[in-house]
């Protein structure tokens, strides 16, 4: 099985390069995921760096660009990939080494949307109550694992990662706007105003296309705009 993997070690390399690697077919078991193959490759060449943890699409550590498409290596079946399998770091982020990127800007944008409940009333004595219908509003939003596949596939985030919140952060912004327990709707909407934070989204929908959890940030962004309209009228 043939691979072409992006290699870059800023301490020793002047420029990034693509390394061709052959994995003996005998090592490839049926049903293997891309992450398994990368681990086998790393067993032979321990200088290859990539992030991974849970190995089952829950932690979101192993986002990478696989044959031109962002995805999680641990839930991408090897059999589904055209050879040579081209592996690159997710686009638009500073590369720390090989497939490991600096996610600081991504987390900065996430932090900026205040991803927690804001409640002005005194806290209830026991717990916050929510009807099943109110809870249903959060479906398709809370499942995000912050892998960064969507934001790093978004052209608007490539051009303005310092100002545009990006699809992942905006999906989470709506997750808290949609939460019946949150009381900061007006403040949250105000914080998304301006030409950059929300409105750099041009509904390219790359985010929807690549999300490994099947979520729809574009729809959430549309709902935020609808909320803004509701607040205006």
């Amino acid at each position: 099985m043939r691979f072409s993997i992006y290699r870059y070690n800023p301490e020793t390399d002047a420029a990034p390069r693509m390394q061709d690697i052959d994995l003996p077919d005998a090592d490839v078991a049926p049903g293997m995921m891309l992450l398994d193959a990368l681990r086998l490759i790393k067993a032979n060449d321990e200088s290859l760096s990539f992030r991974h943890s849970c190995g089952e699409g829950v932690c979101g550590s192993d986002a990478m660009n696989i044959n031109g498409r962002n995805g999680l290596a641990c839930i991408t079946p090897l059999a589904s990939l055209k050879q040579p399998i081209e592996i690159r770091p997710v686009p638009g982020m500073p590369v720390i080494r090989d497939l490991v990127v600096d996610m600081s800007q991504f987390y900065h944008q996430y932090r900026a949307i205040q991803p927690y409940l804001i409640v002005h009333d005194p806290e209830p004595e026991v717990e916050y109550l929510q009807t099943p219908e109110q809870r249903d509003e959060l479906d398709g939003l809370y499942e995000c694992i912050l892998c960064g596949c969507c934001s790093t596939a978004c052209p608007s985030f490539w051009w303005n990662p310092d100002k545009f919140r990006g699809p992942a952060a905006l999906l989470q912004a709506y997750r808290f706007l949609a939460d019946s327990r949150d009381q900061a709707t007006a403040e949250r909407l105000e914080a998304l105003e301006g030409p950059y934070r929300l409105f750099r989204c041009h509904t390219v929908m790359n985010c929807v296309d690549v999300c490994p959890k099947g979520l729809n940030p574009t729809k959430a962004i549309g709902k935020i705009k609808k909320l803004m309209l509701k607040h205006l009228i």
């Binding site: 051009w159 998304l192 409105f199 205006l232």
Partner: protein, 113 residues
């Protein structure tokens, strides 16, 4: 604070102008398809009807607003040096303004004659 309002307001204007233009173009094309003017004079008379004159003027205003928001978005996406951006935005604004005045002149002269 004005520039901060230019996110939502610009988006809303772009959507509203798009809807208006779609409706107007539909009406316009439908008229040309079903009841095309047979002579230049008939065409001018039709254009001079108050309803047509007003909706046409609004159409061109919507077109300019729509183009301004769209081009501004493109420039904001791709042109980051502030000086270059300012010059480009000024050029776009001047160009659209000139086109707007030109259209106004054409429409006014049509009404006057």
């Amino acid at each position: 604070m004005i520039w901060r309002a230019s996110g939502f307001r610009a988006w809303l204007l772009q959507r509203l102008s798009a809807v208006y233009m779609a409706l107007f173009i539909g009406m316009f094309v439908l008229h040309l398809a079903l009841d095309a003017p047979s002579s230049y004079q008939e065409w001018r008379d039709w254009m001079a009807l108050p309803f047509i004159a007003v909706t046409t003027s609004i159409f061109f205003a919507a077109l300019l607003i729509h183009a301004w928001v769209g081009l501004r978005d493109v420039i904001m996406d791709y042109v980051h040096p502030l000086g270059v951006r300012f010059v480009l935005l000024a050029l776009v604004a001047a160009g659209l303004l000139a086109m707007g005045l030109w259209m106004l002149r054409i429409l006014m002269m049509g009404g006057a004659a």
